[in-house]
């Protein structure tokens, strides 16, 4: 599933492009080459974008927005990251994102489930304000149920209080 999603997405884009070919007939020889380039461009844009998502030197490879205890306020230091992902979503309208909100393990599981949802929602709202489309982003909460870090330490708690931005094929 995870591996199939991106090739499936690409073949969908390619299929959409090639299907425009046969419908135009006469002037299409030049146009078709143009379409071909457009396809390649779209492809390479998506391709470079996807590469950027996993390039450790690119800010897009960072996916987590961190929060204080019992807070769903985005910290100023997270703004460049959110802006970069908003730009990526605007430039790649075919990309979809799932935002998973998480909390540390302290306190009520149900309150944490709601808190995780708020964290996912505020990240989504910030991305929408910066131009991403509603249809591109879904926000869900994992509450305290899927901790990234398991030890009962302050460092682990901080690591677990976050929203993760995942793209198609990553969730």
């Amino acid at each position: 599933m995870k591996k199939l999603a991106i090739p499936a997405l690409l073949s969908l884009i390619l299929a959409a492009c090639s299907s425009t070919g046969p419908t135009d007939t006469a002037a299409q020889v030049e146009d078709r080459s143009g379409t071909g380039v457009a396809t390649v461009t779209a492809d390479s844009a998506a391709g470079s974008g996807i590469a950027a998502l996993t390039d450790p030197n690119n800010i897009l490879s960072k996916r987590s927005v961190f929060f204080d205890f019992d807070s769903y306020v985005i910290q100023p230091e997270a703004k460049p990251l959110i802006e970069a992902h908003a730009r990526f979503l605007v430039q790649n309208p075919q990309m979809k994102m799932l935002i998973q909100g998480n909390t540390d393990e302290r306190g009520s599981r149900e309150y944490n489930l709601a808190l995780g949802q708020k964290r996912a929602d505020v990240v989504k709202q910030a991305l929408l304000l910066l131009g991403a489309r509603e249809s591109q982003i879904e926000s869900v909460s994992l509450g305290e149920e899927k901790p990234r870090c398991d030890a009962p330490t302050e460092a682990c708690f901080a690591e677990n209080r976050r929203g993760d931005m995942l793209y198609s094929g990553e969730f």
């Binding site: 709601a114 949802q117 708020k118 929602d121």
Partner: protein, 426 residues
């Protein structure tokens, strides 16, 4: 008598339904604090009990001892037949305030009758007598019933030894929703999953559990009939579906949904139909608890920090209930509607607290740091909750006056999300 038979049929139905009874690790209970003054009782071994493969008396003694309210005065191996008036002044001389006498009478075809009488050594009066039919396999069931009888006669409140508890065990990547007797015995697994299970809630008739399962990669609410294992999705709206609580008549559930935005309170019928919004707030509303006083108590951060509020089950405006501190969550109301148990953050520690709703007096009952999910025994005397010990989840119980403390543990597993079931049906 009919109650015992009904219970027996119910247990039999569970066994026939293929529950993995008893095979797994049991919860073991350790008393970590007792009442200041325990009521001294003599519970000699029941006459002719040796004909049973497993003792009834041991179950009665263990229940009463663990309750923290009674101390057992040892009489040695001497039996006091139910049909003979005991020497009450002599029993009083041994320091006992009450004496239980009993006999097991074989009735053929593997059936027995347990007859017992309770006496007050001070007034020299009989406090009551009963006869319960049983099979050899029912020693625990009957023992719990006798302990309930003694508890009620001596404290004036119903016992809770015949009740059951539900909880979630996490071992490695696996989650199990289990149901056990209140003493931790007879654990049975109702649901196994690779994804989290949270927030089990007993139906008022004790036959079903509502809970939240992440098995479809998002929180969805199920209602699960324990005897048959039949499950039904009752809430699977867009977004998250969580925190179920039953109406006192069992016909409805209050739940938390995010289908219209952030976490808000809704009410739906127990079959999942007829969803309607209960309240609207600008913040998080969650963890509803539907009290028998027809109020729904819930957690909300509408005032800036999570606090407990209540709203009429029919709707209307919400009133704030907790004011001390900046983190008060997980409200649970006692059956008599007088006490509210909840989790409070006190100097960075999460602890079980109770508020006397009439006087608004709040008392913190525990000195632990990671308490969650309080749940009252049906008689309101004990509160079961999840906490942490030695780096893993354990269940503990504390009396609502804070004096009696018990710990329930399953070896090598994380236990969480306890819910104390109702009194078994008569």
């Amino acid at each position: 008598m009919t109650r015992t038979l009904t219970l027996f049929r119910f247990l039999l139905a569970i066994m026939l339904a293929g529950f993995a009874l008893g095979a797994r690790a049991q919860l073991s209970i350790e008393i970590t604090g007792a009442g200041a003054s325990r009521f001294p009782v003599i519970i000699p071994i029941f006459e002719h009990e040796g004909q049973l493969p497993n003792s009834v008396t041991d179950v009665v003694r263990a229940d009463l001892d663990r309750s923290g309210l009674f101390s057992l005065v040892d009489l040695g191996p001497l039996a006091l037949p139910e049909s003979v008036m005991p020497d009450l002044p002599a029993m009083r001389g041994r320091g006992a305030d009450a004496v239980l006498t009993g006999s097991v009478i074989a009735q053929g075809s593997g059936r027995y009758e347990v007859r017992f009488r309770l006496f007050d050594t001070q007034t020299q009066l009989e406090l009551g007598a009963m006869a319960l039919p049983m099979t050899a396999a029912q020693n625990r069931l009957v023992g719990h019933r006798i302990a309930d009888f003694v508890y009620e006669k001596l404290t004036g409140q119903p016992g809770y030894f015949s009740t059951r508890i539900a909880y979630v065990v996490k071992s490695g990547p696996n989650f199990e929703l289990q149901v056990a007797d209140a003493d931790g015995m007879n654990a049975a697994t109702a649901l196994r999953s690779r994804e989290p299970i949270i927030s089990p809630a007993w139906s008022p008739d004790g036959q079903r559990l509502a809970y939240v399962s992440f098995e479809q990669k998002k929180p969805i609410i199920y209602v699960h009939t324990l005897a048959t294992g039949q499950r039904r999705v009752v809430s699977n709206f867009k977004g998250s579906n969580s925190a179920p609580t039953w109406s006192p008549d069992g016909s409805q559930l209050a739940v938390v949904l995010t289908k219209d935005g952030q976490s808000q309170l809704y009410v739906l019928n127990a079959d999942g139909s007829g969803v309607r919004r209960l309240a609207t707030s600008s913040g998080i509303d969650t963890e509803p608890f539907w009290g028998r006083d027809s109020n729904i108590y819930f957690t909300s951060d509408r005032g800036g920090s999570p606090q407990i509020y209540r709203i009429s089950a029919g709707g209307g405006s919400a009133q704030r209930v907790t004011f001390d501190g900046n983190y008060n969550v997980s409200p649970r109301l006692s059956a008599d509607g007088k006490l509210l148990a909840f989790i409070t953050r006190n100097a960075g520690r999460f602890q079980v607290a109770v508020q006397d709703l009439a006087s608004r007096q709040t008392t913190i009952l525990t000195d632990s740091a990671r308490d969650e999910s309080p749940s009252f025994a049906p008689n309101g005397r004990m509160i079961l909750y999840a906490t942490e010990s030695g780096g893993r989840g354990v269940l503990s119980a504390v009396s609502s006056d804070g004096r009696i403390k018990q710990r329930l543990t399953v070896k090598a597993a994380d236990v969480r999300e306890p819910a104390w079931g109702p009194q078994p049906r008569q």
